[in-house]
Symmetry: C2
Subunit: 278 residues, 2 copies
């Protein structure tokens, strides 16, 4: 029978720059033999502790500049009384608020940047833990993102190693024998979401063990880019207001040229009708 | 320790119109005593079987009209060689492709509409199952949705009863004692995602039992509308191309009027420069 078990790995200490995260996770797993790791387990690791271990910490006063530095493309912005919220594509290709720069659960006066290369971080963690325990493991690095159209946030996979993050079923048959045309479950994001249900936000449990998905633990899995849509293919690559403003500016330029020509042709006799268009 | 267990409820028969879904689920649970229900369990039910039980079936030939009928607002469309893909807000307030009209795992020649009122369906299932088993239960009705910015699909909650679908933590403190300002985990969607990991798409397992989240099973929980953003507050209420086209049309009208006036004022002497704008 298909059974999924998810539990927070207890006993993870507060992570500080330079920490060997794999060693801390291994110690936590060892200290709880009843909850140790088994073959096929997937470790869902909050990106925050990866960032802390990697020293991706900047002064809170530099937050806005840090967001700018992490941004490759602005998707939408809104001013509010205390500042500006920016939804951007960051250098990892992830679309989200504030480029993933994070001010919650951080040491006072600091903010965290996302890990430099979450897939590489996941790969290092996986290699180290697999060697230590002698079993097949997968690692997913998670972050919390808002969504278009829906309230609230869910955790998603921003890095991974050894886990089939996107299960492309297109071409396979459904239970009625019909071809499942566009179905590609975002397994990595669903794993991150399941892990978030036990990790919680304020509980200090940054690692969850996800057990029962060994079929998705594969050596040659692609990294988290497979979960990020190419902006050229994205119907929502710009906020509605931003896209409308861009269109309006182009329309004014085109309309003005056509209107000017029509006005000249109509001549002074049309002056009383000026503004009525052609 | 925080432990989440998710398993597919085995033995669910193929559902046909008029079926008593609560009775079928109760029989399936009874037939597998090792996997029966316990207090605080949440049942994640694929909307497809709710639609089938409720007879929400139309001829495949009427699919496009069915999508139109279920739509209250078009968000984005794209033509492709075989037709048009429409992302719309449907009458339930859900933004998704084809208004949730579903052609996979359906009897040949038919498509399924979403349940008429998934919250009400969830509420009936919950009342019936709670009475039958004498325990507190929650019900989430799930559907599979694509996302902006990210590849693949995840399951989300489109109906619910007795489950805190959105956990608004704003104002609470994080582990560092800082206020969690905008954090509202979309618990319903994360439950749906976790359930999808065991239900799979082609396996004929339409119901999952989600165990270990009893703290989210509450009598007065709001329905799935809490997970749907008000379009007026949605920065992505229109596709980028659609918003740009809307802006362009408005810009052409404004530009043409201004250009015409400028052209009249410039007079015939400007004829050679027509089109250069003002």
């Amino acid at each position: 029978m298909n059974m999924l078990t998810v539990f927070a790995l207890p006993g993870m200490p507060e992570v500080v720059p330079g920490d060997d995260l794999a060693a801390l996770m291994a110690q936590a797993a060892d200290a709880h033999p009843g909850h140790g790791l088994v073959d096929g387990d997937i470790l869902a690791v909050t990106s925050k502790i990866v960032s802390k271990a990697e020293g991706r910490i900047v002064e809170a006063a530099d937050r806005e500049q840090a967001i700018t530095d992490e941004t490759v493309r602005v998707v939408a912005t809104r001013a509010y009384p205390g500042g500006v919220t920016r939804i951007v594509e960051n250098r990892l290709g992830i679309v989200g608020a504030a480029a993933g720069v994070d001010a919650s659960n951080t040491p006072a006066g600091t903010v965290l940047l996302l890990p430099l290369d979450p897939d590489a971080s996941a790969s290092r963690l996986r290699a180290s833990l697999q060697e230590r325990f002698g079993i097949r493991l997968g690692v997913v690095i998670t972050d919390t993102l808002g969504r278009a159209w829906r309230e609230g946030q869910t955790d998603v996979a921003i890095g991974g190693s050894g886990v089939l993050l996107l299960d492309d079923l297109s071409g396979t048959l459904d239970a009625s024998g019909q071809v499942l045309r566009v179905t590609a479950p975002a397994i990595g994001d669903e794993i991150a979401a399941a892990a978030d249900l036990v990790k919680g936000k304020a509980s200090g449990c940054p690692v969850a063990v996800v057990r029962g998905l060994g079929e998705f633990v594969v050596d040659d899995a692609a990294g988290a880019r497979v979960l990020q849509r190419d902006p050229a293919q994205d119907w929502f690559r710009l906020g509605s207001d931003e896209a409308r403003a861009e269109g309006y500016a182009a329309g004014v330029a085109a309309g003005r040229a056509a209107g000017f020509a029509a006005g000249v042709a109509a001549g002074p006799a049309a002056a009383g009708a000026a503004g009525s268009g052609s």
